[in-house]
Symmetry: C2
């Protein structure tokens, strides 16, 4: 399956829109693979240039630095996630079912994603697991936020928090809870992959358990006080 979505995102994230040229597309597709393999620290534009048989300086014409490329890639991921959630909850009637859908998508995204613009969503998912926090854990956060670097994430949080409100419009912290849901999902997967002592999830059976963990957590806070 191949879906052609229009990836929005902030123009401040790139110098030349990578979607509009062959080189741009190669940068995106290959960088996903390389960052997944090497991690953002060991990934360099020089290595990428070598891989795609292009030139370091050419890549710098698209992205000011690798940090911006990372933020761009992760934004794409949040866009995809948000889109899936909106599609999937559009015709879902009860708020609780919607919330169920959200959690299901969060937990299963990489196993059920169409390829978008040749991007390997599975690899992107792995990047999100281990690199996404680095996008905002910078001394320049405030400046970058001001320039809209995190708009896609904010949109996603907005979508999810609205569903929380549908479930319980008296709940006081829907946004904080939405951040918590997103971040916790990735943390739990990361922890289950790397620290046996820190989770109850085995790498093998982690998905259904993480799902149950998240469902219990979300439904408990949101329906607390309400009987049934």
């Amino acid at each position: 399956m191949e879906i052609d979505i229009h990836l929005p995102k902030n123009e401040n994230l790139y110098l030349i829109n990578p979607e509009n040229s062959a080189l741009g597309k190669k940068i995106i597709v290959s960088s996903i693979g390389m960052i997944r393999e090497l991690g953002i620290e060991d990934f360099t534009f020089k290595k990428l240039a070598r891989e795609i048989k292009s030139n370091e300086a050419s890549i710098y014409r698209y992205f000011t630095n690798k940090h911006n490329l990372l933020v761009y890639l992760i934004s794409v991921y949040w866009e995809v996630l948000n889109m899936k959630i909106e599609f999937s909850t559009e015709f879902t009637v009860t708020p609780k079912d919607k919330l169920d859908r959200v959690i299901d998508i969060l937990v299963n995204i990489e196993s059920a994603s169409p390829s978008i613009k040749n991007m390997d969503i599975r690899s992107l998912h792995e990047i999100v697991l281990s690199e996404s926090a680095k996008a905002y854990l910078t001394k320049k956060v405030d400046l970058e936020d001001q320039q809209g670097y995190f708009k896609s994430y904010e949109k996603l949080v907005d979508t999810i928090s609205k569903i929380f409100i549908e479930v319980n419009d008296e709940y006081e912290f829907p946004r904080a809870l939405a951040c918590n849901l997103i971040e916790t999902t990735y943390e739990q997967f990361y922890f289950s992959q790397h620290f046996q002592t820190l989770t109850e999830f085995q790498n093998s059976d982690s998905k259904p358990k993480v799902k149950r963990f998240l469902e219990t957590l979300m439904f408990s806070v949101l329906t607390k006080g309400t009987l049934n």
Copy 2:
């Protein structure tokens, strides 16, 4: 107030124990201030050497690299936290009160911490907010975990999860929840400091609200099903 605790930690984290020499102590005390100011990316041993009027090579004889120094500092923080929790819950009777104490300590640690070995716990707290995830988000996690780099964190999770079990011994995921509690606390503070759209917490009044957010979250999951 000055408490002299014996900081345990893993011998693999340093080459020479920094607690045993004047230079070692200077490295620790000054690096906390510098990493807080510059962030780990812009912090270098060369700059630190200049600041403490020592030499780059001398610092390298204590820590193999700045990453290990960061992991060391963050471990100290987890040790302090763990200690505070153990002290504070030792004579607390009911499990729910213990959980209350834990959350209170997590939320208020920097405002109520004695200076330990001249370390500025407030600065250390800021480092934990914005740098602690980078300690484990590395391609070398597995190797580092094997060498005990994250033992202090694991101990803390253990302490907290045991309290969860006291509150409800049927709850399925006490460890995952403990990680969630710790990570969420720092995320929420970080988000409230940098992204107005992502939280319900204003920077000014964040503490009591974050506390209520966490209490509601924890008590809901743990007491769900149980009436009252």
